[in-house]
Symmetry: C2
């Protein structure tokens, strides 16, 4: 056998150029790039027929375990960092002056469009658990450039309970337990009661578990609180907050930790309702700074579930 690459250099262009004239232009760009990268990958590692067939079976297994409320391909994409990367490409804001607002990270599959509005100072804990650590969470939303408070911003919070399950994963939780929307007051402030978050594992009974095991990686995510912060004039921020003491910060199984999202929970002694205090302030950028100001966040599994089941 020859030592040089022996493969037809015209093959990949031939496959890409097989696309006909009615291919939509954006599809041509995306599929052309995808085919080229898949071919380059196969040549780079000299993928064998047996390895290729393992990959074929693996991809078939992704859809086979998926259901209207389980999106295994979404999870696989998280495990290889693709959702985080797509989020960065879509949403990263850096002005010419080098200013950036509070970081965005992935939405994840557990957001619900149905969280109720609650009053500032309310608790999102509808079903208390004995080991839940109640936290007084508060902060201020300001404009990234002017520092002025943003009045009427909506903060949508969701989190797993102290048993590491979200409301719709757990028959013991009432709908919208640990979910709620709040509007900032005239000083741009918000405040509520929630839980210190609890770390949890991705489900490992499917292909994502097979892949994580093969890669010798932990399936755990660091504990986190999800936030979606919206305002008509400002670019939406979707992010997650992580306790600074969490052991999984450096090995998040979905690669969604950013430094400005690591927060300090402090003991609270002046409130019989809470044992912890979390101050978390947010800066937002005007929509004009966003690369895609009108882009919608990805539709979550849960939203699709609702559409399929109820609408």
């Amino acid at each position: 056998m020859s030592a040089e690459p022996r493969w037809d250099p015209n093959f990949t262009p031939y496959v890409v150029n097989a696309m006909g004239p009615k291919t939509p232009e954006r599809a041509r760009v995306i599929l052309g790039s995808l085919i080229k990268h898949i071919h380059d990958f196969a040549r780079e590692v000299e993928l064998t027929p047996a390895e290729w067939m393992m990959g074929v079976e693996f991809i078939n297994s992704i859809g086979q375990i998926s259901t209207p409320i389980r999106n295994e391909c979404h999870r696989i994409c998280d495990v290889i960092g693709l959702e985080s990367l797509v989020d960065e490409i879509a949403n990263k804001i850096v002005t010419e002056q080098g200013l950036s607002p509070t970081s965005n990270v992935i939405l994840g599959p557990f957001w619900s469009p149905n969280a109720p509005f609650r009053e500032l100072g309310d608790s999102i804990i509808q079903n208390p658990l004995p080991n839940g650590q109640v936290t007084w969470m508060h902060g201020r939303i300001t404009d990234m450039e002017t520092g002025k408070p943003i009045v009427g911003a909506v903060l949508d919070i969701w989190q797993a309970s102290a048993n590491a399950m979200y409301d719709f994963q757990d028959p013991e939780q009432s709908e919208n337990n640990l979910r709620g929307k709040f509007r900032t007051n005239e000083n741009g402030e918000y405040f509520w009661y929630c839980y210190h978050p609890t770390a949890y594992s991705l489900p490992t009974d499917g292909p994502a578990g097979v892949l994580l095991n093969l890669m010798d990686r932990s399936p755990f995510r660091p504990a986190h609180i999800h936030l979606m912060i919206t305002h008509p004039d400002y670019a939406t921020i979707i992010n997650q907050l992580y306790p600074s003491t969490d052991p999984y910060l450096d090995i998040d199984s979905v690669f969604a930790v950013k430094n400005d999202l690591i927060v300090e929970f402090k003991p609270k002694t002046d409130d019989p309702k809470a044992t912890l205090d979390l101050e978390y302030n947010v800066t937002m950028a005007l929509k004009k700074h966003h690369p895609n100001p009108n882009s919608a966040p990805p539709v979550s599994s849960f939203e699709r579930f609702n559409k399929g089941q109820k609408l």
Copy 2:
């Protein structure tokens, strides 16, 4: 927004390096390259969250339509040329003198390990159809370097019937209709009766059909006869023969046409049993010339079906 790429240059290495020390070395190579190419693809086309989610749903749909006898991911790989490329990487033989044997192409999903041995001169047509064009097929197998005949080579032939269906797709066909194994005689010759092949479409009721339609491509394959040629001393050849008059030669939906596999069917007037004559000669290379002399062909869907159902 800035015009320069704004994305964290450390992100992809961070994801790749998350693999732990127990990752098998070959898995590390394959997954590292695959993750890098998927990330590069996403950055190159600036994949949007909505486009990414379309891809997620598409991949989930591949497994959802697959069954023990339908391997949709295999078909998707064929449509993007990946099976052909993997076949070329695994099996292309070019000696230092520039010699190559008869071309290899993909096995496809319709090979059966159960084809019966038949006598030279027999017909593989167990269930004749009125529109079938019976062909006297014959030829000689020789050594690529010496030109000497190869005695005792086994030719395994399989083909769709004149209704474009294989035996196990069609309840009207008996098992092993249009399949058979033949051994070359003392002159390296083989001869049998078969059909002129019939073109057929890939199934378009699943994701492969969606993809072909998006790419504005025909789902048709050119008509072909499958062959697998084996001998203990020679590198196995798996290929397909295409009539030179076929209209799909340049647009094969699975990219498996090679020039030396295009053959001429000629009228035959001296045999009441056949109306066409096909001479097809093969050159084989000693195993030492094969890049992976002991590699097995990929396991076909049909073989997996048998394993699941009968063994």
